[in-house]
Symmetry: C2
Subunit: 218 residues, 2 copies
DNA sequence: GCAAAAGTGTTGTGTCTACACCCATGT
DNA sequence: ACATGGGTGTAGACACAACACTTTTGC
């Protein structure tokens, strides 16, 4: 079967989309959305189909495979293979969810069915790592944003404070951000208007490939 | 089914273990070793079993999952899921192989059956990336080694020249290497005896977790 | 002494964090 | 004028690559 850890930054917090189980085993517990794979169906197609039909989420800005779980103990009754995915939703969307579905704080997850708790944490680690060496931020941020809005997204996903000054410098130095030329008008309390930025590319790209042991300059 | 890209540095070259297919489809072509998953069998157990029975490789110093392929076109006759793995063998071992199995240069692979060519390249990329931010070198190197032997291993795996000076500095600075206290006697042509080193840990560890956007110093 | 191989010292460069300072707007 | 929030300048720390130099051996 296929599963997805769908993450979104909502109100400055990193949240996962969970689904309340109606049936045994683990009836009543929260779990990751997903379902069975159809014959001759691609894993990616399967998880997109389940997300679209069961939880009504269609606007994924990023979807990638995490890993496949095969431990016979992971399901109490039967042996079940499950391929987990990481899906990201931009912070300015608010998909309408069915009643048995809700966003939960990744920081304080309830007990999840099966091995879904560890899968959710694996997804968060993958996201955190990729924020530092790829442009994956594009998938969490709106189309256009100010640096301080982007700062909030990064801080929520990383789980610690990020300085807008340095965030801008890193992303501009690497050529990930470009100014749109537009400005955000200040609110009622005043302040200098903020420049709007966008990600130059909205495809996943590795931007910091070699931390060390780079190929020789020649 | 399960597949494995087994890599080893042999004679200063990065090589993959391939298996010549006896049966259709792709009879005669080279392919990655692997086989079917038994009911209630773990993916890791399955690939270890196939490697042990079919190609007689038991001494893997590292084994991790790569990804699961599901494209219905990947097999001409049937729809087949395959979970690919990366396996590493230390450079001082030389497992005895059955006659239909051989090591091939990763640089110049023959045409491989199914989608195995792209899986082999994916494995190489994964290895290259992890060499720069983890201690995965332990899985390619012998138990004890001189810096210049380790240099050859890194150069072969990365595909470009590496300076022994800087390799040592990076790995020592990060606390990955420790001196054994022993020395390697020089050969007939003389030269200063080399100090022997070993990896401090032979478990996979991430040693350079945050390239940028580190958590605040406090 | 000389060649060979290993190891250390040193310098320059680039990237990152932290923090001070300046800018543009609302009231 | 002053508060508010955005943006830039700059200095220090650190990690890295490159390369010169020194050390230890065999012949």
């Amino acid at each position: 079967m296929t599963l997805a850890v769908v993450l979104q930054v909502r109100d400055g917090r990193l949240m996962v989309l969970l689904w309340q189980r109606a049936r045994e085993p683990f009836a009543g517990l929260w779990s990751l959305p997903g379902g069975y794979l159809e014959p001759r169906e691609t894993l990616e197609h399967s998880i997109r189909r389940h997300l679209a039909t069961k939880v009504d989420v269609r606007e994924l800005s990023q979807l990638e495979q995490l890993e496949t779980r095969s431990d016979p103990e992971r399901h109490p009754d039967e042996w079940q293979l499950a391929t987990a995915h990481l899906g990201l939703v931009p912070s300015d969307l608010d998909p309408t969810l069915p009643p048995d579905t809700a966003w939960h704080l990744v920081e304080s997850l309830p007990r999840l069915a099966f091995d879904h708790g560890s899968i959710a944490l694996l997804a968060r680690e993958r996201l955190r790592a990729k924020l530092s060496y790829t442009n994956i931020g594009f998938a969490l941020a709106p189309e256009n944003f100010t640096v301080s809005e982007l700062r909030d997204v990064y801080a929520a996903a990383l789980g610690y404070g990020v300085s807008p000054t340095n965030l801008q410098r890193v992303l501009v130095r690497r050529g990930l951000l470009e100014a749109t030329g537009e400005r955000r008008e200040p609110g009622p309390s005043g302040g200098r208007p903020a420049a709007l930025f966008r990600f130059r590319s909205r495809e996943l790209e590795v931007t910091d490939p070699f931390a060390v042991l780079r190929p020789p300059a020649a």
